[in-house]
Amino acid sequence: MRVERFLTDSAQAFPEKTALVTADRRLTYAELNRLTDALAASLASQGVKRSDRVLVFMDNCWEAAVSIFAILKAGGTFSPINASTKGNKLAYIIGNCEPAAILTQARLMPVVREALAEHQGREIAVLSTEGRNGVPEGAGSFMEALEGDATPPAHGSVETDLAMLIYTSGSTGQPKGVMMTHDNIEAASRSIITYLEGRSDDIVLNVLPLAFDYGLYQLLMTFRLGATLVLEKSFAFPQAMFDLMRRERVTGFPLVPTMAAMILRMNELQPGFLPDVRYLTNTAAALPAEHIAQLRGLFPGARLYSMYGLTECKRCTYLPPDELDRRPGSVGIAIPGTQAFVVDDNGAPVPAGVEGELVIRGPHVMRGYWRNEQATNAMLKTGPDGLIQMHTGDLFRTDAEGFLYFVGRKDDIIKTRGEKVAPKEVEAVLHALPGVAEAVVAGIPDPILGQAVTAMVVLSNPALTEREVLAHCARNLEDFMVPKRIVFKDALPRTDTGKVSRRLAAADLEQAA
């Protein structure tokens, strides 16, 4: 099944039902179907055709939801880009995936113009929403592209085509485009809906960025179910979100550990304060056992799912909620219709209790990284039976009953606020600043963030201040990648062989914190 059918089928079954609720607009399935048809026809008239990439560079707004499904209806491949992405990285992504079009918001147009300045001569259609001064210079009108009753022309695209290219932080420092076909997304969403027991009367609150697959799948899955998505930009004001959840009678509440920590630091909440919530989910990093217990106290009637996943296959495992008491530290078992097992360095399965690398097989596993054969081959390998399997780079063990436990990463990736940050990407930005001689970046435990991105820097220009270094980072990195703290040192810690040691730096920084 192609992914746009999630919308078109639900529009047929529930035309008048509310599909999407945002702060400034409510849309029914029929309305969304018409808007996406019109935008798909506009995109086609601007030259977007089968398998063309189209960037959706927007925050969580109704226009982003319309864009994603319109691109699919035009036969294209959507690529959701985090709204805090800066010009240099956007320019890299444009060079990497060569999009036919970019759909964006007026406030982000300066970033788009900066990125496009590096790609003069390329033909890229740009559509933007209106700002205070109308449609910004350099863009066509997004709103005009939604007008009329046109339907998209036939494009010939099929289920094995790419539906999505989603960029993820790579351990080498350059973002990598994860290739997902319509079949991949169909399989992953079906599996997740199965274990969450998703229903058409679900009402799901999503505050996580649509450029983050966990946030994106809330949109895809609610549309597939014919359910309702309440889409918000941020969890900055939890009380306002709780009011909204009571008003909209939200039944599904996806969390990352940072949100759980924000909820649990509030001391005025009473058990059952959100009585309609039927289930909560957590992924991105494990919740501390104490937080699990406290959440269950506040949501006595709800099921709580501990989950684990990678963008490269969307989701790997989930813990059935009735196992939570027995094994609160486990992330469970493979999601339905897939396999997850632990292997040693030679690829042989290890017995229970022994640490090894987690390997995933199933219809949800990506087709590879866009134009990056080397990284693809490091991740996707041929198993003993000749079938492709994904080596996650994550260390796991199982208990005697086969339930999985996350042990750690094989590489240095930092998890902060639920998002992955490659230390090398931050270090590359630090090294580009004149006056910085050397830098090493590590994640330091933090009660709210999970890990706080922290940098140890050796200066060649001693006049440089922490603020100047942070300002440089903020100009060049997405918000969540900007270090929380810069620590200046005379030298970086090194191993016996003279290599800069991230592990020793992390230990130093943790002690200093």
Binding site: R107, S234, P238, E468, A471, A474, D479
Partner: protein, 88 residues
């Protein structure tokens, strides 16, 4: 009074969220969240700053956009509570 509170808030935002880039400071009536100036953990930093700087405790139920999403709103909220704290 209110103008000096506003200036203190502006300085904190410039220093902490804009790393000294005053040109990026939004207007007093513009949303700090929608403008991407502060995020969810930024709000917690803002609350900690208000408590320390102005000497009163911010109740969980006060952490709402009406009190904290614009410089005007923050100054108004601080003005109401700091004076209560001073009078007590």
């Amino acid at each position: 009074m209110s103008e000096s509170i506003k200036q203190t808030i502006r300085s904190f935002i410039v220093e902490n969220f804009l790393f000294g880039d005053e040109a990026a400071l939004p207007g007093d009536a513009e949303s700090l969240i929608a403008g991407g100036i502060i995020d969810s953990t930024g709000v917690l930093e803002l609350v900690a700053f208000i408590e320390e700087q102005f000497g009163f405790t911010v109740a969980d139920s006060d952490i709402v956009p009406a009190n904290l999403d614009t410089i005007d709103a923050i100054a108004g909220y601080v003005g109401r509570n700091a004076s209560t704290a001073a009078a007590a």
